[in-house]
Amino acid sequence: MEHSSLPAVELIVRTIAETAIANEEYFCQLDAVVGDGDFGYSLARGFEKVLEDFANFDRSSIGAFLRKAGLVIASRAGGTTGPLWGTAFLRAGAAAGNRQALSPQDVVALLRAAVEGIRQRGGASLGEKTLLDALAPAIDRLEADLAGGVSDGGVQALANAARVAEQAAEATSSMIALRGRASYTGERSIGSPDAGAVAVGVIANRISAAWRDFRAQRSEQS
């Protein structure tokens, strides 16, 4: 993670997509407990299309690549998920601009831009039992770990961030849902974690593992 280039970004996006598709049913089930059960479906439809068009994405810059992913998600995924996740990728793309590689600080800035996009589009604050409640603390931890510099290309930092995301997702159980379809369950939403937050945890975990493998391969090759 010294300087992440397009292949690294491709790996991350592909990993997110594959994880979303592999967990379609699980994410739906989570959403069914407090929401309306379509979260996994919407997410999978969006990322299916991402993989379908993947080869033809604009690769002129990291920003162009991420924006294209965002457009595809927004255009194909329904529900609240399409606009929110689409906006996240669009904003990350805008933050990346026409860079060909990203510094660790760039990565954090890009993630912050994504979070800010979700916040603006959906109007949610922290503590309202949404994916933000897993995403924001994970980015905080990542920023802290990366701040002092890393020697392993960020493998450990990503693992830590993933663990934080998972724990934070778990912790949404005690929150009362105030956003999205889940909010209608009111008090009844207490006791089950937010589907979006759990998805962030699962995806962060898969990214962390994929990144570790990717780095391992690279060091073998070098």
């Binding site: 739906c28 309306d36 059960g37 379509d38 255009s75 329904g78 606009p83 959906g122 009362i176 209608y184």
Partner: protein, 331 residues
Amino acid sequence: MSKFVNDPKQFVPEMLKGIALANPDALRYVPAYNLIMRADAPSDDKVSIIQGSGSGHEPAHVMVVGKGMLDAACPGDVFSAPPVDYVYETTKLLKSEKGVLYLVNNYTGDRLAFEMAAEMAEADGIRVRTLVIDDDVAVSGSTHTVGRRGVAGNFFVMKAVGAAAECGDDLDALVALGARVNGVTRTMGVALSSCTPPAKGAPLFQIAADEMEVGIGIHGEPGRRRAKQVTANEVVSLLLDAVVSDLPFQAGDRVALMINGLGGTPIGELYVLYGAAHEQLASQGIQVARSYVGEYCTSLEMAGASLTLVRLDDELMDLLLAPAEIPYRVF
């Protein structure tokens, strides 16, 4: 899953194809965007009215496209807001000099999709205004930052602005009219059973055979409380209490009363509810001047019903009585 379905993922497109085949002259179907539009739309003399939402609420909204109602509907999958793309492409196809009116039921997913689409369409020079419908009194109180849901009362907004648009009213006038109708429309529903989205293959939520969900949403979202089932008269009382006290409706009001079936309740039962509601309202001095009994906004095959009241004035009554031609019809 006791449903008539082929590939569950093709449920919505196949339904739309059926609607198109049944109405070859009046409607056009654009499969790429789940789009059902009037064959004679758009017209630069008329604001184009677009509604989109998750599917599974039929006849809303794909079966109410036609003269005097919607110009187009672009639904998402069952219970899922349409993707931004569908809304955006629909907007481009329905572009009119007089502008485009979005009717959006107040759910986060729908609002966000229409909001993003509006931004994109406006960047293309299309004039768009959005009217958010939120008639469901079940959702209230300070914790509900997302606000009230749009449910069966949206029929009255569509009917009124649809009729007014047919008369050539301009975009701002339609937004004002729609807001006025939404402002005097209140709904609450009750579910006696769950429902099963085709692609899910299992009931959306669990409810015991002798229970009901009071204040149910049209996507199976919970309402105010779970309770033991009570008699039809008692169901009407508790729906009316919530609806009447909310606006509030008062003695001397003339109203339209809708008993809307949620999909699995036969119309005979809806008329039992209607009779009780009509009489209970009369005893409060509220006069039902127009009745609507049947299915207007459903939740797949859910057993249940919602009750909507609309405070009428002469203008609104005229708009409700104006002719309209849509696929959803008897003859």
